[in-house]
Amino acid sequence: MPSNYLDKAPEVAARFARLQQRPITLEVKGLTKEFITPRGTVTALDQVSFSVHKREFMCVIGPSGCGKSTLVRILAGLESATAGDVMVNGKKVSGPGPDRGMVFQGYTLFPWLSVKENVMFGPKVSGVPNTLAEREARQWIDLVGLSRFENSYPHQLSGGMKQRVAIARALANQPQVLFMDEPFGALDAQTRCDMQNYLLEIWRNVDITIVFITHDLDEAVFLSDRILVLDANPGRFREMIEVPVPRPRHNEQLFEPTFAATRMHLEHLIHPPGQESKSAPVIRLTKPDPDVI
């Protein structure tokens, strides 16, 4: 039975009502980004506004070219906006800062530092004494389950392990918001699934608000409370979806009607039906094979 993505179980609806009451951690107002190219001005983001509540998990999704990476880079302070404001806990921010952590798709671990030293990097540049930074780093490494590897170097770790170190490194700074830019995009399907569960586990145990960029619809539905859907060319606010799938999430929910309905709706938003381009295949066989269809 196809279900509507707007139908919420009462306890899910109640939870969303409670989330609305929480203070706003991140507020984005009228964010616009224009790139000046030789062929004229290209608008990557056009008047994007939204807000994220404390300890909320929000995913940003959209077709390629919708500027979701640009958005998160502006939020992290790595790029400047043409217009609009970014506020963390009500305070306007510009430029990168330790209040906003970031996990990149390409790991970006410092190859000359061990796992422990990587995690200690943030606290140490903020002036935390060595012994304290080391003690805290151990706890964060423990949290991501890599205690056995604290003295290993990044090149000795697998992709999933590297990304766990990157998460621990970002969290060790105790930021208000954690931005994640397609962090599991380079991982294989199985590892990606494990990492999603890991991330939810960490999110439950750490006081952190997460803004997560992805192009994987299942990932977005599985992880988030709300999903921000962007339009492409220029990147515009399309819809904010409240995910009706109850928490705690587990892998079996992928086959539940609420999950499927939400996913279907996302699919329609990003790839509107009727717009698929169907090119006629070149027929090379004179006699069709009835078993290959």
């Binding site: 302070g77 790595l78 390409g106 970006t108 410092f110 190859p111 990097f121 540049v125 990044p154 700074n173």
Partner: protein, 448 residues
């Protein structure tokens, strides 16, 4: 079966060879040129386009004077012999004359170089006519034999002794014959051109020059080697002290990049040796202009290479550090520097190799010095057997230094995975005490 089946094929396309195969090929790569050198030097008929004189003769009215040891082309040698033979016939035909005594004294001494070579007399006895007279006697009467002289020349020796002994059995100018003595005919052995001495000659010459006792007026090889190394060291050190910071600044800030790099790029195209006379004028004699030449030869390349290396650092590492709260100064000290260090080290290693080129030029400016002076002077006298050991020495020094530094790279930067398995193993052994102590400290910490 010479190799087990799990050994990769020797000719697999883009496949890594086994450790043993690599070692074997490395040895062969050095043996191959050496074997070629031996082949050309020792196997007759492969090349040997020259004749090296063992017996030389002077000719009347010909300006070019050959002495034993000189090289003649194979084509010219028979004509040379014929010329001397012709002169002998003319000498025989000429009658007796009082004035011939002077010429005969000279001809008497033609045996001296051969006797010196055979160690019968010392070089300073080349004009000791009594001694030389005795040698003619000994050779003619068979008391001494000299395999280098062929039968035709032995015949000449006997003929000459007949004439000499007819007058007297011992030397005196008065009793020299009035009939002309005959000239020894030139003799020679097939030889390679003087610019390609045989391996054993090079080894002997090298051994001689490195073990010769120090004299007051000439520097020993060791002193020369030390002086060369010193020039390269200081030239390179100064270049690194100035070039590394500028290179890093250029690679980090657009400001410094555009302030320094255009001129450095231009300066690079002015060959360092063109400054040599200028440097001598500025720094006067001694090592200073030489150090300066190595310095200005190395510096522009160093700045450009290091700025490029710095720019190649993954920019996302800098972004990650910024999101972790690093300030601009911390970015340089905690990300840029450690991040580029392994590549910077390799750049310096490559530049050090180039510095040897500048050294050779540097040693020729002002007062010639060091190893290059030997190459220059000995080469001018065509003593190439003395030149090759120096060339090899410079080559080996550069090669060994580079191999050592490359090995050290593995020790210093185990995380930059270009290091070989062997050097990583050595790194594990070398750092073992440190790791054990720190592990012990950690355990004790936990126990508390």
């Amino acid at each position: 079966m010479p190799f087990s089946s799990n050994q990769p094929s020797w000719f697999a396309i883009r496949k890594e060879l086994s450790h043993m195969q690599k070692l074997v090929l490395t040895v062969i790569s050095f043996c191959l040129p050496a074997a070629l050198w031996c082949l050309v030097s020792y196997v007759p008929g492969v090349w040997h386009p020259d004749v090296k004189l063992t017996v030389a003769a002077s000719r009347e009215g010909v300006a070019t004077v050959f002495t034993a040891g000189d090289h003649l082309s194979k084509g010219y040698f028979p004509k040379y012999v014929d010329d001397v033979r012709q002169e002998n016939a003319e000498l025989l035909a000429a009658g007796a004359s009082q004035s011939n005594k002077r010429k005969n004294q000279k001809l008497l001494r033609q045996i001296a170089p051969i006797a010196i070579k055979a160690n019968w007399i010392k070089p300073e006895q080349a004009q000791d006519d009594a001694l030389i007279y005795q040698i003619w006697a000994d050779l003619a009467l068979g008391k001494k034999t000299l395999p280098t002289l062929n039968e035709e020349n032995m015949e000449i020796v006997r003929l000459n002794w007949q004439k000499l002994s007819a007058q007297s059995n011992t030397f005196s100018f008065q009793t020299l014959p009035q009939e002309m003595l005959l000239k020894l005919l030139p003799q020679g052995v097939p030889a390679n051109p003087s610019y390609l001495p045989a391996p054993h000659e090079v080894i002997q010459a090298g051994w001689r020059s490195f073990t010769s006792p120090p004299t007051s007026d000439r520097a020993t090889m060791r002193e020369r080697f030390a002086s060369s190394v010193q020039i390269i060291f200081y030239g390179f050190l100064w270049a690194a002290i100035i070039g590394v910071p500028i290179g890093i600044l250029c690679g980090t800030y657009g400001f410094f990049s555009h302030l320094f790099e255009p001129f450095v790029d231009f300066f690079r195209y002015m060959p360092a040796p063109t400054f040599s006379t200028l440097l001598v004028a500025v720094f006067a004699a001694g090592d200073a202009p030489k150090v300066a030449l190595v310095f200005i030869g190395t510096l522009p390349h160093m700045i450009l290479m290091i700025s490029k290396t710095t720019r190649l650092l993954d920019f996302s590492l800098l972004e990650a550090a910024q999101t972790l709260g690093a300030k601009p100064r911390q970015l340089i000290g905690k990300v840029v520097l450690p991040g580029i260090l392994p590549n910077l080290y390799n750049d310096l290693r490559i530049l050090l190799g180039w510095a040897w080129t500048w050294l050779v030029i540097a040693e020729l400016i002002g007062v010639k010095s060091g190893l290059t002076e030997v190459i220059e002077t000995q080469g001018r006298f065509r003593n190439f057997d003395e030149v090759f050991p120096i060339i090899f020495l410079i080559g080996f020094t550069g090669f060994i230094t580079d191999q050592f530094l490359s090995w050290l790279h593995g020790l210093l930067f185990p995380w930059a995975s270009t290091s070989s398995k062997l050097s990583r193993k050595i790194a594990v052994i070398v750092t073992w005490p440190i790791r054990t102590v720190s592990a012990g400290v950690r355990k004790n910490g936990k126990a508390d």
